[in-house]
Assembly symmetry: C2
Homo-oligomer: 276 residues x 2
């Protein structure tokens, strides 16, 4: 296969060159290829999708990093957005800092994405400033998307009224309180709304979104670069896979958080005029 | 089902409470559950595994965030480690900052994890200080692990000599230059070495590792919290799935990087006395 042949030729070349010390000549030899590659990597096409990802205190880092990795390889223009540019905390202790504030975030977005993290999500649902920002950008965004419990914040902003949607399995059944129809699928697309299950589902959502934004071939290339051919060691990623005992045990340790989420969803439903 | 019943009871409770404004009474009502939950979340057991994750400039954020999310839910003691505590860049533009330097990183680790990102990996392979750190901690670590191209850095430090291993598909065939046997599997465990394919494979590796560290039930609980029941929209995550045309096209845009990786691997092989 050509591929293998090229590898062999490069191996011979690199072996001939011999040591890292001799790298310059090799680099020089490949300079133009290198420059071209770097240009390819750095260049953001003028028509590249404009993406705003909300960040919020206590968010789950992977809810953001999964989709951001996909859309970054797709060379979208990505901003992280929050009230201000003071670093916010994530559950991992790795701080994220907004690249734009609510004020200077582009008004017309191709993609608005809201990550989750239940405690941060509840704070967002109860925060009029966050709700107003999501409602405004979401009203014009080409795609309104969420990962994990972020779906509750999107719904609380009134953006899922009358839409099929989903969210992290522990709180997805709260979506109807805010006018959404809960559909129990990993990724749910309804018109220009795309929501998904918990944490890791954001990668599946982002690849689905990538195909919508740039076509299937572009999405497939991103998938190959990310080597996304998952092989979980266990089948335990959904309540159905885990079975009722594990689910009930996990629910029991979340009573306090789930009740707070339910109360925030109930309050949002009242604001949105959703009949109880 | 009990689970559903509990949800109904909570719905009734939250609806009775009515609005977010009334939250305090609800919070109060559930205070002890809430405190207990928070204690559960915050407490790191005294016997929890000691984990050091290398960070390096130009690394791929998801290579780290995937496994870190798994091991954080597993309540490991996780340090991010680099030469100093000046923030390093990631491909996403989100900076990571070391929590420990090479000097004050624990000497005896349960897990040493090395993430990838080809350009950063090549720099690590050619950096005696990084190689010396990995060789030292790796010589005593209970588990020596890598994600994506990070496998090349682990191999360059001499830690995969005579071991089965893998790495990102684009450069995994360089592992034998440094004395490893390349096994074409998503996650490869050989004695106390665990390596995996590109980027997203780190999640599969970390769940496999979690079962080794804390038992299968603990790993399954992490998988359920992360809702890890992946459904990629396309089958395109490996060269075999993508087919030769897509693979050859992607190789062609990586000639410069791959040749640099090969030269660094060849130099490392010479240092390690691996016969060409």
């Amino acid at each position: 296969m050509t591929d293998t042949f090229n590898r062999r030729a490069l191996l011979a070349l690199a072996t001939a060159v011999g040591t890292g010390a001799a790298m310059p000549s090799l680099a020089q030899h490949l300079d133009r290829a290198g420059d071209k590659h770097m240009d390819d990597m750095m260049a953001i096409p003028p028509d590249s999708p404009v993406v705003a990802m909300l960040i919020h205190p206590k968010m789950i880092a992977l809810d953001l990093i999964g989709p951001m990795t996909v859309l970054n390889i797709l060379r979208c223009r990505i901003d992280l957005v929050w009230k201000d540019k003071t670093p916010i905390s994530t559950e991992l202790g790795i701080p994220f800092t907004a690249t734009r504030t609510f004020e200077d975030c582009p008004r017309d977005l191709d993609v608005l994405l809201v990550p989750g993290g239940i405690l941060g999500t509840i704070d967002c649902m109860n925060d009029p400033q966050v709700m107003a920002f999501l409602a405004d950008r979401g009203s014009r965004a080409k795609w309104v998307t969420s990962v994990c419990t972020g779906g509750l914040a999107v719904a609380a902003a009134g953006l899922l009224k009358g839409y099929d949607a989903t969210a992290h399995w522990t709180i997805a059944d709260l979506l109807p309180l805010m006018g959404a129809r809960h559909v129990d699928r990993r990724v749910v697309a309804d018109r220009n709304r795309m929501t998904c299950g918990g944490v890791t589902a954001g990668i599946d959502l982002a690849l689905t979104l990538a195909a919508e934004l740039r076509g299937e071939e572009a999405a497939r290339n991103v998938q190959l670069i990310m080597e996304y051919s998952p092989m979980p060691p266990f089948r335990n990623g959904t309540p159905a896979e885990a079975g009722p005992d594990r689910v009930t045990a996990m629910r029991a340790r979340r009573t306090w958080m789930d009740a707070q989420a339910m109360s925030a969803a109930t309050a949002a439903g009242k604001r949105l005029g959703i009949p109880v």
